[in-house]
Structure formats: C-alpha cells, structure tokens
C-alpha cells in the first residue's frame, strides 16, 4: 500500500520533470492524459506536485537584480528584504543581525562568521558555568500581554505557558522547584513531567500544584478559575495551610470565590472548550448573554455594555472569534430584539423599542 503510493508519486514527479524539460508534444500530452485517467491516485499525486511546482515560480524573485556566479549557500537570503521577519525562526543565523539590505556577496559571509563567533563564545561560556549553574541556577522571567493579545512562553524546564489577554506571568525555576506567579489574567500551562520539582502556580492566595499535566488558570477580580485537561492538579490555600487541599483530576473545573472552592466534573471535551481562547475563539452553549459579553470584553478595548440588565439572561450558543466582537454584536441584533449603538466607542446593547414582552 505504502510502496504503491510512493511509486505513484515518483511516477508523477517524472511526468512533471519530463514535461518541464521542454519539447513536449501532443503525443506526450496524450500519454500523460492517459496515465492521469488510469486512477484517481495518479491524478491527485500529479496535481499535488504540479501545484507546489507552480508555486516554486515565486522563488524567481530571489534572483531579482542580482547575478549569481554561484548558487548561494543555504540560508544566504536571510538578509533579503523579502523575508525580514519571516525567516527568523530557521535557527540558521539566529545570532546575526538581520536588518541589512540584501547584498549577495559580502552579506552572505558575514552572518555566517558572526554566528560562528557567537556560538563559539556561547560554547565557552556554557562549559565554564555549567557546573556552578547546576547547583544554584534560577531561571527567571516576566511576561505581560496587552489587551486582546496572546503569548506563548517556553520555560527553561520544557514546560510552556500560553498567556491570555491582559495577563501577567513571572517564573522562577530552580533545581528544587518551579514557581510561577499569575498576578492577573489567564494562562494555560503545559507542564513538563518532573516529579522532583513541583510546578506551583501562585495565584490569589492559592497554590495550584502540578506534576506533569495541562491546566488553565484564570485570575480575575471576582475570583479564580482552574480548568484541568490532563493529569492531576492540587489546589491549596496559601494563606491557610491547615485547610485540606483539593485534588483536581482531568475534567475538573474549579471556581474559587470568597474563600470557597466549588468543583465541577465535566467531560474532557467540555473542559477543553474553556481553553479555546488559545486558538482565538470562544464556545458558548446556552450561555447567558451577560457572561458571553464579559468574555469578549476580556479581549477587546471597545467594551460591550448591556444597557438593559434583563438582556443578560438571553441565551447564546455557538463558536465565536474573540477578536470579532463587532461580528458577535451584529449577530445578536439579528437574532435578538436588541439594538447596538457604538457611537461612544463602547458598544451599548439595548432592547429594541417596542420589543418589551413582559
């Protein structure tokens, strides 16, 4: 099966190359047509290679204004203005400055030398300090996101944190423990398994403790929410260590408000829906409009305001992009008797005149 597919792909590539060689005549075209018609597998393999090959015509711009006596070295076009921010993650010349104009001959060697020098220096530094760092090293970092923004943070222990809108996170990772602080906002943690080093999120007077797991912590004025999608998380009051800790297995949604912890067990799929903000959208199932609006307001500068509190109890369902509150409001106007006014910057929702049903 697999070999079959690979052979078909090789055949398709040969047809493509032969046609590309020029001198292609009707007889050959007919032969290609016959081969393509033999099975759908032939056709889709050929279409796929052809589509990408056509796409490679874009590479032509790399030659613009430059004559190449030789083919440039790999990564040599890093300096090309065509790529400025895009090739940044290739790792090829990560340490070389990338703001130069595209000067093919000299620019080509310089980043290479610079990166060689940088990696040599790095190697020496690492060897010299490795032993000492092993014992005392603490990796620290602080991150903040703006309203509506999102940031993925890769921690030195292999864990990652995804910061939601208007959030703040700091980290101190030592050999003994991993301490994270979330003074405000929301973060999703994907924790690298390391039983010897507990991973503790300090938030709002609580410790959220994980070993190797995935969970989300949201810290807002009104309280704290922890959603666990994998493994086990332990929630403990930092202020009162006497209080029993609460164990949260995957599928838990814990709400902490005024010192009280309530835990709800939901199917995993449902728990994951709390995390869709990482992909820029939100899922509602019969959610009160008041809650839905709050969700959008966490991400957008132009707040949605309910002029009539009774609107808050309308139920909303569906998937919505968080950055498209205007689209959400438009939809609300279509399905509900509401009127939106965004004259003042904020979007004020009020009941459409004459729609009072009580």
């Amino acid at each position: 099966m697999t070999d079959d597919h690979r052979q078909i792909e090789r055949d398709a590539a040969l047809w493509l190359a032969r046609r590309d060689a020029g001198g292609w005549d009707d007889r050959q075209q007919a032969a290609l047509g016959a081969w393509l018609s033999e099975t759908t597998a032939h056709r889709v393999a050929f279409l796929r290679l052809e589509a990408t090959w056509d796409e490679t015509a874009r590479l032509h711009v790399l030659a613009a204004g430059v004559s190449h006596p030789q083919i440039p070295a790999r990564g040599a076009w890093q300096g090309s203005p065509y790529f400025a921010p895009l090739l940044g993650d290739t790792g090829i010349t990560a340490s070389a400055p990338r703001h130069r104009m595209f000067r093919p001959t000299r620019a080509r060697r310089w980043p290479l030398l610079a990166s060689m020098a940088a990696s040599l220096l790095a190697a020496v530094t690492i060897m010299g300090t490795l032993a000492w760092r092993e014992v005392t090293h603490v990796d620290r970092g602080e991150w903040q996101t703006a309203l509506g923004a999102q940031q993925v943070v890769h921690l030195a222990d292999g864990s990652s944190a995804t910061l939601g809108s208007a959030s703040e996170l700091s980290a101190a990772l030592s050999r003994r423990e991993r301490d994270l602080y979330l003074p405000r906002g929301e973060a999703f943690f994907d924790v690298a398994h390391d039983p010897a080093r507990p991973f503790v999120v300090h938030v709002d007077g609580y410790h959220v403790i994980a070993v190797g797991t995935r969970f989300d912590v949201r810290h807002e004025g009104s309280g704290l929410r922890v959603v666990v999608t994998r493994g086990l998380v332990r929630l403990r009051s930092a202020r009162d260590p006497q209080l029993a800790a609460t164990d949260l297995p995957a599928g838990s949604v814990a709400l902490v408000k005024g010192g009280a912890v309530s835990v709800q067990q939901v199917p995993l799929d449902e728990a994951r829906e709390f995390l869709t903000w990482r992909d820029g959208y939100v899922v509602f199932h019969g959610t009160p409009l008041a809650d839905a609006v709050q969700e959008f307001n966490r991400y957008n500068a132009h707040k949605i305001v309910l002029a009539d509190p009774s609107l808050g109890s309308l139920r909303v369902g569906g998937n919505f992009r968080l950055d498209n509150s205007a689209g959400f409001v438009r939809l609300m106007q279509e399905i509900f008797p509401v009127h939106a006014d965004s004259g003042s910057g904020d979007i004020v929702l009020s009941r459409r005149p004459g729609s009072h049903r009580k």
Binding site: L47, T56, H60, Q150
Partner: protein
C-alpha cells in the same frame, strides 16, 4: 459543467495540506504512514467531488480524514489505544481553523526558500537554476556537466521534496497550540 474538479481540488483542498499534515501527524503515531494516509484521503475527496462538490471543502476534507483514521484503527485487529491520539477529539477543530488559503505571498516565499534549503546539494542546485534563474533543463545539464536525464531526475526528486517540505512538515516538532502569538524564551540572569 461548472469548474473542473482539478482546479477545485488544487484551490480548495490542496490549500489545506499543511493543516491536514499537522492533523495526521498529531493523530497517527506511525509517521511513516502519514503520506500514505494523505494520498488516500485525497483520492476519496477527489472521487467524491466528481459526483458532487461538497459545500464546505475544508470540513469535508477533515471529515474524510477522521473517517479514514477510524477505519484504519478498526481494521487493525488489535486496537491500540496509543495508535491514535484521541480518537474522539482528533483535534479537528483546531486544524480546521487554520487559515483556509494558500499561504500569503511573502510567507509562501519564505517557506519555499526554507524548503529549497533542505534539498540535497545537487538537487538544490538544479532546482535553483531551473526555478530561480529560469534556465532550461538542457542548459542546466550543460552548465553542470551532467546528462539531461540526470537533470530530469533531480527535477523530479526536487518536485517531490519541495511539495513535502512546503506543506508544513517542517513545523511538526512545534507542539500543538504553540503556533500562535510570539514566542518568548525565559530571560537568563545577568
């Protein structure tokens, strides 16, 4: 007749190959089988479109993919739970939310340049001369002192590798969920 199935397939299906490959890599443990799965999915989608174009090509593509994976798991007599990530979930939504288009011009160019850099030396040289400098195959053979047949073989190989590399296998080591937003690294103490 409306538009041809070929054109539809290139525009509305192949455009999602990067997302499809991520989906397959995430949900099928044996990565060697992924390109085989992809081809089979394409065959199913194409044949179905010859009868009727689906309303939503992307959803149809991922539904087909999901069904194929489920079939495959059932066919394996001993069902191994680890063979698939999460059969229920299958992360479809996330992949379906990827941009539904061919890459933007600049992004495509960057990906192509990266894909080109991953070709073996001779192959890269040939593809460069053909696609960047626009030399005919015959002229490339002359310039490199190799036979035209050999140039043709390099083009064939290049077209296969470029297709693989262009469509996002490059990024497969990045864990899911990490592709959006800026990447930051912890600051080293000074």
């Amino acid at each position: 007749m409306g538009e041809s199935v070929d054109a539809w397939f290139v525009r509305d299906i192949l455009a999602h190959e990067a997302a499809l490959m991520r989906f397959l890599h995430r949900n099928w443990r044996d990565h060697d089988e992924v390109s085989d799965l992809r081809q089979e999915i394409y065959v199913r989608v194409y044949e179905s479109a010859t009868r009727k174009f689906p309303d939503s090509p992307k959803s149809f593509l991922f539904t087909t993919a999901r069904n194929l994976l489920t079939d495959r798991v059932r066919r394996q007599r001993i069902v191994s739970i680890t063979a698939v990530g999460d059969l229920e979930q299958l992360h479809v939504l996330k992949d379906e939310l990827e941009p539904d288009r061919w890459f933007s011009g600049r992004e495509a160019l960057a990906r192509l340049a990266r894909a080109l850099d991953r070709l073996p030396d001779r192959c890269r040289e040939v593809v460069w001369l053909r696609r960047v400098e626009d030399l005919p195959q015959k002229e490339i053979a002359r310039r490199l002192g190799i036979s035209e047949k050999t140039v043709e073989k390099h083009i064939a190989k290049g077209s296969r590798l470029m297709a693989d590399h262009f469509h996002g296998i490059i990024d497969r080591d990045i864990p899911p969920g990490d592709r959006q937003g800026a990447h930051a690294r912890i600051r080293k103490p000074t």
